[in-house]
Symmetry: C2
Subunit: 128 residues, 2 copies
Amino acid sequence: MTHTSPVDSYHVINLAQKFGLFSEQWKPKVVAQMNDYQFKIARLEGDFIWHTHFDTDEAFLVLEGELRIDFRDGSVLLRQGELYVVPKGVEHKPYAAREVKLMLIEPHGTLNTGEQTGERTAQNDLWI
Amino acid sequence: MTHTSPVDSYHVINLAQKFGLFSEQWKPKVVAQMNDYQFKIARLEGDFIWHTHFDTDEAFLVLEGELRIDFRDGSVLLRQGELYVVPKGVEHKPYAAREVKLMLIEPHGTLNTGEQTGERTAQNDLWI
């Protein structure tokens, strides 16, 4: 069986090191890709906008701090080491009282604001 | 916009709590699903077998301990908070000198032994 990957792909992603490379909030950065899915890290603080991803689920893993995700009829609170998958089509709004560091896992091309593109829409596919 | 998800889906996954539910090694457990991808947690210790996933990349995130992934021409060492994506078609062999706790992210249906099915092949799609 031949090895098809170049040696320079043997590169481990250290999430803490990646967080050290930026301080801006609400601007997810891609750190890895698996098939057509991307791993993104972000710093969030304060309130976001209500939005929906009509064509995909979206996974949140909290690495440091606390994240609340509001729904129209409830909410979830995620602490460090906690994972939540927002189902496709479910309107939601992230909120963090203090800065939270998290990882998002979602298909390439997913916008942070879903269908609600506007001033809170971050540049997509930005690697760090 | 209507909310399409039942309230009982507002269930956060605490990874430490999930690890408390099992102690066996080399038996990945599904904790969440995003579209057709699954989040699996596992305890690994010792040596695994060489295998390849011909149809998918495979992501490893180390939650506690250290994981080495050997390739035919190199290796990577992942510590806590480190992520690595084994590219599709690349033969690899996980190894841990002491028990490591990790999360795998891969498509539903991915077997732990890839094409090398046999005694080390774990039951698939086992939720915890």
